[in-house]
């Protein structure tokens, strides 16, 4: 049911995913996380290509689904809804989980 790190790894047969067009939960696209993520990344992660560890899809990070009305930021794969990134800001720390991304491909500056 769940992956080793407690995330759902949904597949296209998953009823939860099939219901997505009627989902009452709002989300924004990954571009909206640029401000918060610029605090922890020196690179432009929004433009980077990322590979989803759950389904293998490769997309620009900015195209992902971002859930920001939550105790932290949760960015999910647009194709399978698996978790790509979690960011929690506490008064003294950032907690960053990137385990849903098997790689990030980042253009070097000219």
């Amino acid at each position: 049911m769940n992956g080793p790190d407690n995330f759902a790894v949904p597949d296209s047969e998953d009823q939860d995913i099939a219901a997505a067009p009627h989902d009452p939960i709002p989300y924004v696209d990954g571009n909206a996380t640029a401000g918060a993520l610029s605090e922890v990344f020196r690179i432009d992660i929004i433009a980077a290509l990322g590979r989803c560890r759950h389904c293998g899809s490769v997309r620009a990070f900015g195209e992902a689904m971002a859930f920001t009305d939550a105790p932290g930021i949760v960015v999910r794969c647009r194709d399978c809804h698996g978790v790509l990134l979690r960011l929690v800001e506490t008064p003294s720390q950032y907690w960053l989980d990137l385990s849903g991304l098997s790689y990030l491909e980042i253009d070097r500056e000219e």
Binding site: A19, P24, Y27, F67, A70, G72, R76
Partner: protein, 196 residues
């Protein structure tokens, strides 16, 4: 800071129903880490699994046949809002655990859609926690966790898992979705157990 702002803070903190660092809201904000799963009611179940392989489960109709309680409680979200006097209907976990024998001290709540959160068993028993399916006299909206959510109002509200599917009893306290990424293992709002 001027007199007006400190006076405002003073009045707020005088409300004994509000834990430290919380303010009251009249709204019911929707906080969620992902999409709302759609659970057909004939496929819904609530399960309890124990360390020795026992698995109990209830269908929706079996669940509704259990003794129902009306619950009026204050709820406290870790993002700092509190909502006072919320009214729910649901089944006490004491009723669901009636035939469960376990030596486990902890539980992992599993939601449809994959969310998890960990709660010590003693925080779930003794009239402290419910599986709730009605809010304010109406069936619980899907955005708020319908058909049914866990209700553990004496802990921060991320412990009250939406779209509850079941409880897995464990010997160890296994960090759940938020607890594994910065949030407190326990989450008592009166002790401000927000972060790990």
């Amino acid at each position: 800071m001027g007199i007006i702002s400190s006076g405002f803070r003073g009045r707020r903190s005088e409300n004994p129903a509000l834990p430290p660092g919380q303010h009251e809201t009249q709204d019911f904000p929707v906080l969620t880490a992902g999409p709302a799963p759609l659970i057909p009611i004939d496929e819904w179940e609530f399960f309890i699994t124990t360390e020795n392989g026992l698995r109990l489960s209830w269908s929706w109709n079996e669940f509704l046949a259990l003794p129902q309680e009306e619950i009026t409680k204050d709820i406290h979200c870790v993002t700092s809002w509190s909502k006072l006097g919320t009214v729910w209907r649901g089944v006490s976990l004491d009723a669901l655990f009636e035939n469960v024998e376990t030596t486990s001290d902890f539980a992992t709540a599993h939601s449809f859609g994959g969310y998890t959160t960990n709660v010590p068993l003693w925080d779930l028993l003794g009239g402290k926690a419910w599986v709730a399916w009605e809010f304010d006299g109406e069936p619980l909206e899907r955005a708020h966790g319908g058909p049914a959510r866990l209700l553990v109002p004496h802990l921060y509200f991320w412990k009250s898992a939406k779209w509850i599917h079941g409880l897995e009893l464990t010997g160890e306290d296994v960090p759940g979705f938020w607890e594994s990424n910065g949030y407190h293992l326990h989450g008592n709002p009166w002790r401000e157990e927000r972060y790990s």
